[in-house]
């Protein structure tokens, strides 16, 4: 953000970090208490691990569902929270949290890596195993090239114009970037460990045509060494299946080895982490910072079980305390969705 620019601030009652099953159900529990929520997730889609890791796998321990798939659960939760109109901010990571309020009347300013700014009276961390981030291959010195020559994502395509680019991987990310960057790049070399690609067949076919046409190169092997100076890459060494070494001149390397979960910037929020988990009390699931809650797999407390059902329970209890921050003067009376006409009105079923 440059000086003089006016920052647009999104005001919300609650900000939920993570759009997995627990973050989604928190929308429901908060919504019943008239608390509006925005959700931020680093993934480009809703559902967290359920959608990213096991969309087709059956889950057997969701109460009331003898069997439901990861994606099925996410779809159902989305339907369940529809009446509360949650606002999603996908493909963004929360990076900064600033405390504006007091312990009795918390207020937080939260910034994402895409430059969005939120002001929220409560922050619910429902980040599961952390944020999904690109896997970094264990090639000696790779970190010294990151940012200038090694990229795990492309934010500005134009920056890649005229470069000799080496793309590593055999999935959709690797093939999509091969196709997208081909018109801009000086030369593309695709490196994959085997001559089979799990990416969409039409992208693989397009790539193979270009290779046959000598418009780009395909190397079967794995990158073992990077060469360059002062963080600027000049070549990468690829070890073929037969052990032979090929040095390929390149200005940029883009490895696509999928995602792994890392705690990320939340680690710097002063939450007194215990083994990369956020300690929370078991009455309100609040952290050591009043107004910041931790629910689902990311939290820890005596007896914690990393189950989706535990996260649902934690969301319900946290919502009660969030209500006190959002509506300090309102008395909260406990109601059931089966009998309360006011709750049914909120759900649009009365």
């Amino acid at each position: 953000m440059t000086q003089g620019q006016i920052e647009e601030v999104i005001h919300t009652d609650a900000l939920i970090v993570g759009a997995g099953p627990v973050g989604l159900f928190a929308v429901f529990e908060l919504g019943l208490l008239d608390i509006r929520a925005h959700l931020v997730d680093i993934l480009p889609k809703i559902g967290g691990q359920c959608s990213e890791l096991y969309p087709e796998k059956p889950i057997y321990d969701i109460p009331g569902f003898p069997l439901i798939t990861g994606q099925g659960l996410v779809d159902n939760l989305m339907k369940q929270i529809e009446p509360f109109h949650p606002q999603f901010h996908l493909g963004e990571m929360v990076v900064e949290l600033e405390t504006l309020g007091t312990p009795d009347a918390p207020l937080f300013r939260v910034r994402t890596d895409a430059g969005k700014v939120f002001e929220a009276k409560a922050v619910l961390i429902a980040a599961g195993g952390g944020s999904f981030q690109p896997k970094k291959p264990p090639i000696a010195g790779i970190d010294t090239y990151e940012g200038a020559s090694v990229f795990y994502a492309v934010r500005k395509m134009e920056a890649m114009r005229g470069k000799r680019i080496m793309i590593v991987g055999g999935g959709d990310s690797a093939l999509d970037w091969t196709l997208n960057l081909k018109p801009l790049a000086e030369r593309i070399t695709l490196v994959h460990r085997r001559d089979a690609f799990r990416a969409a067949p039409h992208s693989v076919n397009a790539m193979r045509e270009w290779v046959a046409d000598k418009q780009m190169d395909l190397l079967i092997g794995q990158v073992t060494e990077l060469k360059g100076e002062n963080g600027i890459l000049s070549a990468a060494v690829v070890k073929g299946e037969d052990g032979s070494l090929h040095e390929v001149a390149c200005d940029a390397l883009m490895p696509f080895f999928g995602l792994t979960m890392k705690l990320g910037p939340i680690a710097d929020w002063g939450l007194g982490l215990h083994e990369n988990l956020v300690p929370a009390d078991t009455a309100k699931f609040e952290t050591n910072v009043p107004g910041i809650f931790a629910i689902g797999d990311i939290n820890t407390y005596p007896g914690k079980l990393k189950l989706i059902l535990s996260g649902f329970h934690e969301a319900a209890l946290a919502a009660q305390k969030v209500h006190r921050y959002v509506y300090p003067d309102k008395k909260l009376s406990f109601q059931y969705t089966t009998s309360s006409t006011s709750l049914q009105k909120k759900l649009g079923v009365s």
């Binding site: 890791l53 195993g129 896997k135 264990p138 999935g171 460990r193 799990r198 794995q222 080895f257 792994t260």
Partner: protein
């Protein structure tokens, strides 16, 4: 019970007992074997339980299926004896199985 030995990238070996019917990944996690992350919990969808199977056991362990071969694309330094340990079922025939974990999983 079937004895399984896990050797880490630095050469430290740990031998534990695996239950027939469980997986080589589950046995590692149960026994707190370092070098196996198993982020997805055994759904063959993360490639963070990658191991190298001792050559002598390769014929007994068998080759990966298509989904596992695809997932191995997300592992680092994949070799001919690479497997995802969540996809190797512990059987009596694997008594004495030896696997090595790679330098980096995720």
């Amino acid at each position: 019970m079937v004895q399984i030995t896990y050797t880490d990238a630095k050469g430290t070996a740990r031998t534990v007992n695996g239950e027939v019917g469980s997986t080589v990944m589950e046995t590692a996690i149960k026994n707190s074997i370092p070098g196996i992350d198993a982020e997805c919990g055994g759904a063959c969808s993360c490639a963070t339980c990658h191991v190298y199977v001792d050559e002598a056991f390769l014929p007994l362990v068998g080759a990966p299926e298509q989904a596992e071969e695809d997932m191995l694309d997300f592992a680092f330094d994949v070799r001919k004896n690479s497997r995802l340990s969540c996809q190797i079922k512990v059987t009596e025939a694997l008594e004495g199985l030896r696997v090595t974990t790679p330098t980096k999983q995720g």
